[in-house]
């Protein structure tokens, strides 16, 4: 009898405390941060017991979905404008915004030795196509155009531009060899602190405005301790180390 009572007590305990202890957090993540987030998620789940449900996509699409009632609780954007606009529209929790990562731009070729650690290849014009993310849509595209303008190569190279809808597609154009060169996110070609393959020029940060990526807590999670814990976790030193290893800086 005492055993049964004990069982009931344990079962009640689990039933009552379960939801408060382990929550499920639905996170919308900008496509360029997906690899880093896949590394971070298991660690967060292990150390807090919460469960993360990750949705990846372009920031613009996620933004439109949030406006139309998507059930996301945290949004990791690829820029600063969209979290800010959400906050102004009353969809983001005021004061919850912060920069979780600062993106870095790289000129990359899938062919080893095609690019050295200088813009020489770009200046020579000796390449078939130059891939970049559409500057109208993607912060990495804006940065790429700024770099070309700073090097006074914008007009010369423009006929050889091919534009990806986002930086993931831009990477694909270069990775398949269809474009000799492309401006991609350093995070895409970096794994555990090293360049995975091909050759690249790490563009000096003074040639483009910083690609600040902001996170925001969304209104429907204003009272969620778990969601707030995730945002704090992203700011911890341990996680910053992971973010750096994926080719981002932090503020």
């Amino acid at each position: 009898m005492r055993v049964v009572n004990g069982f009931i007590a344990v079962a009640l305990c689990c039933l009552l405390s379960g939801p408060a202890l382990a929550a499920r957090i639905h996170v919308a993540v900008a496509a360029n941060f997906s690899a880093a987030m896949r590394d971070i998620a298991p660690q967060f789940e292990q150390s807090t017991g919460h469960e993360l449900l990750l949705s990846f996509g372009s920031s613009g699409k996620i933004f439109a979905q949030i406006q139309h009632g998507a059930p996301f609780q945290v949004f990791l954007s690829a820029d600063q404008e969209k979290p800010e606009a959400l906050e102004q529209a009353g969809l983001g929790v005021p004061g919850s915004r912060f920069t979780y990562a600062v993106g870095a731009l790289a000129l990359w070729s899938a062919t080893p030795g095609f690019v050295d650690d200088t813009p020489t290849r770009l200046i020579s014009g000796n390449f078939n196509k130059l891939a970049l993310a559409n500057p109208k849509l993607a912060p990495y595209g804006v940065a790429a155009v700024e770099v070309l303008a700073a090097l006074q190569l914008k007009q010369v190279t423009e006929p050889s531009w091919v534009m990806g809808e986002n930086v993931a597609q831009t990477y694909q154009f270069v990775a398949t060899g269809n474009a000799d060169l492309g401006f991609v996110a350093l995070s895409q070609i970096m794994h555990r602190g090293r360049i995975k393959k091909g050759s690249s020029w790490l563009v000096p940060p003074e040639l483009y405005s910083p690609i600040r990526q902001d996170a925001v807590l969304l209104q429907n999670a204003a009272d969620s301790e778990a969601a707030k814990a995730l945002l704090d976790y992203l700011r911890s030193d341990e996680i910053r180390g992971i973010i750096h290893a994926h080719g981002y800086a932090t503020k």
Partner: protein, 227 residues
């Protein structure tokens, strides 16, 4: 309301769809004729390959086209050795992609119309000493005309509505590969919803009236075409 870039995208889309429809009628007719007449074991596999784009996600088709037409792919190696360069990011690359993408929409209505003819008209023509080519051009083609109309309309409309393949192999070059569907996508992603509505609404109306016209036509000529 409609910008110059939008107009360029509309013009490019119409040019692409017209080119693809003409080429597909030329390529699709012999395939449809063979599929309608053959008793070969190959009819199943060939028919399945023709129908693949009906069920494959366009991104799968687009991704394989990007790889195959790239400098290291077998199509890319062929086009390079012919001195044509590589096809992705060009108008003709989109044409090739669309040929695959819209193939079943052209082949199947023609095949159905040819199968519906049966043997009889051909046998009669043969007794009147019409040779095989003569029979094809003076008997089969005129009698299967409703199938060709359906095929042309569907092939054209389906190419206009193409998106996934173009996104994968296009590279978003104004006047070359930026078609209407991509332009709509850009407007939406850039949060320019008003411009997106103009083009998207136009596309919706276009598709509706094309299908309405087609179904009206099919009511006049029942038992033919794709349903």
């Amino acid at each position: 309301m409609i910008s110059e870039a939008d107009l360029a995208a509309i013009w490019l889309t119409l040019k692409l769809a017209t080119t693809v429809t003409i080429l597909l009628l030329l390529i699709g007719t012999p395939i449809a004729w063979w599929l309608a007449r053959t008793r070969s074991w190959w009819k199943g596999p060939v028919g399945a390959v023709v129908a693949l784009p009906l069920v494959l996600p366009p991104t799968v088709l687009g991704f394989y086209l990007l790889v195959a037409m790239g400098p290291n792919g077998f199509v890319g190696e062929l086009t390079q050795s012919l001195g044509l360069g590589t096809l992705p990011f060009t108008f003709w690359g989109l044409v090739v992609g669309s040929l695959f993408y819209s193939l079943p929409f052209v082949v199947q209505p023609i095949q159905n119309a040819m199968e519906a003819l049966g043997q009889r008209p051909l046998e009669v023509a043969a007794t009147l000493r019409a040779g095989p080519w003569d029979r094809f051009f003076t008997v089969v083609l005129p009698l299967a005309r409703p199938g060709f109309v359906t095929a042309a309309v569907l092939g054209f409309a389906h190419t206009v509505g193409e998106f996934g393949v173009v996104l994968m192999i296009g590279g978003n070059i104004p006047g070359e590969t930026r078609v209407v569907s991509v332009q709509i996508y850009d407007h939406v992603e850039a949060l320019e919803y008003a411009q997106a509505h103009v083009l998207a609404g136009g596309m919706l109306a276009f598709s509706f009236f094309v299908l309405l016209g087609l179904y009206g036509f099919q009511r006049k000529y029942p038992a033919w075409g794709l349903r």
